[in-house]
Symmetry: C2
Subunit: 408 residues, 2 copies
């Protein structure tokens, strides 16, 4: 079998070139039975009513890279002619280029309308533990400095416990917690504690600030404050320690339940995960999105992406550009005998990606039981792939994904 396949592929490359036909309404078909056979053997096109129809992306690839010919009314069409004909399709070049790169790796890419709409169960989620969390009472007030978005409390036994056992804020100075006698809480910690019953007083006005007043003030300085708080609270309530990820280029770094800033008390002192929040209403240029993943990658942390607060009714049917087959122990996965593995969305580095759009694509991939791949085509045709693995965090209403750089 494998030998026959190899022969087919060789035949494709070294002898006959398939011939394509562009119909009146710009649909692409295999011109003759021989072309049809060559294409089918390499999993191009879809057979319907005895014809093999090709997706425009496949046609572009076959003409530009596989030296297929394509004609319309017996006039030969070049790659640029085809690009022009299909230039009304969304992101034609980016999608062509990702498809080309995938095929160039010797693996098969197909299209979502060629597979069954079912759960292929090829995307197991990653289980994270949860632990009971209970916030201790505190009879002291947090003093909030508006411009610095920080609050302070003078240390006593209870305040020290808040730092040592719960790792809220910073006592003293980073890694030298006995340097001074004040606990410093950042704006998210302050918001969280205010929401859960702690009292906060403004240093400037001397007035007590309710959680709502505090949130309103902070949102003026940090428009993503609510999304950040949502994610912070979600992990905190499952027993995690979540601190600034500034040193790792992300919003947060994450410690599993049981971590403590005091060496002797800690089971686990080095964070291995970072969390980055992508608000659902935000639009981010792909290169910026990739930058956040890259920093985490360079410091060997697992990058967790959060798109918090998506409501059930906000989900639309996510757009998937390609379906990806991968390699198996011997040879490659084939649409004729294997299930697909990936749902792929393709972008250029300069495109904008919306948080909601990404959440919908991730949901669609989950429904299909496929791993979502985010493919970014840079300005020099080089393609970078990121794979999203769903996290199972018991009790959480949000969905989180580990994002990893992938070489398919």
């Amino acid at each position: 079998m494998t030998h026959e396949r190899d022969r087919n592929e060789r035949k494709f490359y070294y002898s006959e070139k398939p011939r394509l036909l562009l119909s009146e309404n710009n649909r692409v078909f295999a011109l003759d039975d021989n072309s049809k056979k060559i294409l089918k053997d390499s999993f191009f096109g879809e057979e319907r009513e005895n014809k093999l129809e090709l997706n425009p992306i496949e046609a572009l690839y076959l003409v530009n890279i596989r030296k297929a010919s394509c004609s319309k009314d017996s006039k030969q069409l070049e790659f640029l002619d085809l690009i022009k004909i299909f230039s009304n399709e969304r992101r034609i070049f980016a999608r062509y280029n990702v498809y080309r790169d995938w095929r160039d790796r010797g693996i098969i890419a197909s299209f979502i309308d060629r597979i069954e709409e079912k759960n292929f169960d090829r995307s197991p989620s990653i289980s994270y533990p949860s632990k009971h969390f209970e916030l201790p009472k505190l009879d002291k007030e947090l003093v909030y400095i508006e411009e610095d978005m920080i609050s302070l409390i003078k240390a006593d036994e209870n305040v020290e416990k808040l730092f040592e056992d719960f790792w809220f804020g910073q006592l003293g100075v980073y890694k030298q917690h006995t340097r001074d006698k004040f606990l410093k809480l950042d704006f998210i910690e302050t918001l969280f504690l205010a929401k859960h019953g702690y009292r906060v007083r403004s240093i400037k006005t001397g007035k007590e600030l309710s959680f709502e007043e505090l949130l309103r003030k902070i949102k003026k300085q940090q428009k993503n404050a609510e999304a950040l708080l949502d994610v912070y609270e979600d992990w905190r309530l499952r027993g995690y320690i979540i601190k600034t990820g500034f040193k790792f280029g992300t919003h947060f770094r994450l410690y599993f339940p049981g971590a403590s800033p005091i060496k002797e008390k800690s089971q686990w002192i080095h964070s291995k995960h970072v969390v980055h929040v992508f608000p659902k209403e935000a639009k981010m240029i792909m290169s910026e999105w990739a930058r956040a993943v890259r920093v985490a990658h360079s410091v060997r942390k697992t990058f967790i992406m959060a798109i918090p607060g998506m409501k059930e009714e906000e989900y639309e049917k996510g757009e998937i550009d390609f379906i990806g087959y991968h390699r198996k122990r011997i040879g490659i996965e084939r649409p004729s005998e294997d299930f697909p593995k990936f749902a792929i969305i393709a972008f250029t580095e300069d495109e904008k990606l919306g948080g909601k759009e990404l959440a919908c694509a991730l949901r669609r991939a989950d429904e299909l039981g496929l791993r979502l791949i985010i493919a970014i085509s840079d300005r020099e045709t080089s393609v970078t792939y990121y794979v999203a693995k769903r996290i199972n965090l018991p009790g959480s209403k949000n969905t989180y994904y580990e994002i990893e750089w992938e070489q398919p």
Copy 2:
């Protein structure tokens, strides 16, 4: 001498604590002659009319970390009382914390109103070479695909030369330039070539696009297009090769004059510099700014920051938070006998920094002949320092800075 100084420092730490006095109008002074001597010996405060006056930041530091006492109307004031009194000052906690960190490193920080307004000549610029650049003529049109922000030209000898000798666009596929017969030019390259006389035609409408029309279209998709083009053009016209920096998390990567994508022709194939554009009208959260520097750092590239298009009349007097003294071969630099070395601006990770604001601070530091240090205090009181070194690029109208991570 050194011994005497060491004794002074020891005396400060281990015996007497200076006593401070807060005046009616909330100015801070040394309370008595002994306090004045202790403080002066360690370069705190400024002497005027036989009194030693302290900056509020110094007072905060002395009270919180050096266990000084501070009283007003014979009432003792604590750190939080002082913070409250000075909470109208801009970013009081961030500046306090950076000052604390600098002093904790055993080096002296002072204030700009305590030094002479002159050029200390302690910030030599880094010279970059320039080379004559002349764009070859091309009689072919670029075909522009709007949605993908890319243009294509079918290859011939002249087009190949454009790629091989000038490294415009990508012929074939990245690192495999013979894969196909089309040169792909990204939107900045397309803009540059259009500006310098090349003809561009829209694939959708079939109409020729002037440079202005093209720029208008592209600005709708990429609001920083003009700033990016400005920087791109500036380096190109000095003979540099400037390509996407996507893989390094920046806008561009840079090759020195003479680089070529064809291995045999190149003197220098690996880029060692990346360029990131910070538009003067942009506001960026410090953590985002730092992220871009970090990615470059992690791949061992020199990070060049560009704030293009600043006009002479747009410069205002840049705000400098501290003046930094550093170490010397033996011991540390002291205001009594050494020139200052750094102009320091202090931020928190959550603050926004404007491109123009940064350009003004850089200019002010240049005028003083000091190196600008950007200090970022994270939410856990840890401070990260970046130093800016001015680049001398002959013929350029912009100023560029190498940004390096620094441990002072």
